[in-house]
């Protein structure tokens, strides 16, 4: 009976070890990405097979874009607040309200233009095939998506 139990335990132990080993090896990349400084960019590097030089350039572009985007977001917030105050002070579309609406729309258009520009710059930094794939992927999820009905800033 002892031999039978040994074989049973060996089977179960072997299965557990095989499971843990393959799981650990298979998720090593995920853990590496999650523990990196910027997991999103680490994912981009992995997904679009970026080399270290490409990744360094894209990281720089990304940092620059995010900083400028934050500034534009601040300006959009200020313009929205100004528009809200104007709307609260009157019951008609005054020239000030029309001007504020135009400026808000202009800021939003500028945001979209800068975003698109960033996508092109990033795609051009990648290998041609990967750049093309990145552009299609990111445009599908941003400019082409229905998420632009409301701004989330």
């Amino acid at each position: 009976m002892k031999r039978a139990w040994l074989i049973l335990m060996a089977g179960v132990g072997g299965a557990l070890l095989a499971y843990a080993g393959l799981y650990y090896a298979g998720t090593a990349g995920c853990r590496g990405m999650a523990q990196s400084k910027s997991p999103e960019l680490a994912w981009l590097k992995d997904e679009f097979h970026l080399g270290n030089d490409e990744f360094a350039r894209i990281s720089k572009l990304h940092e620059s874009y995010v900083a400028a985007c934050a500034e534009r977001c601040r300006r959009v917030d200020m313009k929205n607040m100004e528009l809200k105050q104007l709307l609260a002070s009157t019951n008609a579309v005054t020239p000030e309200i029309a001007k504020a609406l135009a400026e808000t729309a202009q800021l939003q258009a500028e945001c979209q233009k800068e975003m698109l520009q960033h996508f092109y710059e990033v795609s051009q930094t990648m290998a041609p095939e990967q750049g093309k794939r990145y552009l299609a992927w990111v445009q599908e999820r941003t400019l082409s998506a229905d998420t632009h009905a409301t701004m989330q800033h």
Binding site: G26, P39, T142
Partner: protein, 143 residues
């Protein structure tokens, strides 16, 4: 010799220590062939003459079997004991034991691989969404 006496004699031979009544110890019986032969002859003669004239009570045989059944219940075999026995027999066969270990190893490997793939897919989905939210000011809280 009456039937009663005959029975007593027979009983006397079947009782432990019955040979002592003849003044002979068991060791001596084994070593003394004459006395043993005499006793065997006497016993055989008694057994030959022994006749049972009393009729058996009704359903005697059935009652005997019932009493035996009551005295000696069948050993109960639990499912656990049956399982252990089956495992022992199965693992005693090298081909079956090898197959068992191999199948479990494969199950472990496939399970680990599939679970890792699932985690990878989920992580990639989450990180790609976070990237989109970072670059698109129209999606989700950011900056």
């Amino acid at each position: 010799m009456t039937l009663r006496r005959r029975r007593e004699n027979v009983k006397g031979f079947t009782r432990p220590g019955a040979y002592y009544e003849c003044g002979v110890r068991p060791r001596e019986i084994c070593m003394n062939g004459n006395k043993q032969t005499d006793n065997d002859a006497a016993l055989s003669a008694v057994l030959r003459d022994w006749r049972v004239s009393t009729a058996l009570p009704p359903r005697f045989q059935e009652q005997v079997w019932q009493r035996i059944a009551r005295r000696e219940p069948l050993p109960t075999v639990t499912p656990w004991a049956m399982l252990l026995n089956w495992i022992e027999q199965a693992m005693a066969r090298p081909a079956l034991a090898t197959t068992y270990v191999t199948v479990l190893l494969l199950v472990g490997l496939i399970g680990g691989y599939r679970q890792a793939q699932s985690v990878k897919t989920r992580t990639a989905g989450e990180l790609s969404l976070r990237y989109v939210q970072m670059v698109d000011p129209y999606q989700g809280p950011r900056h």
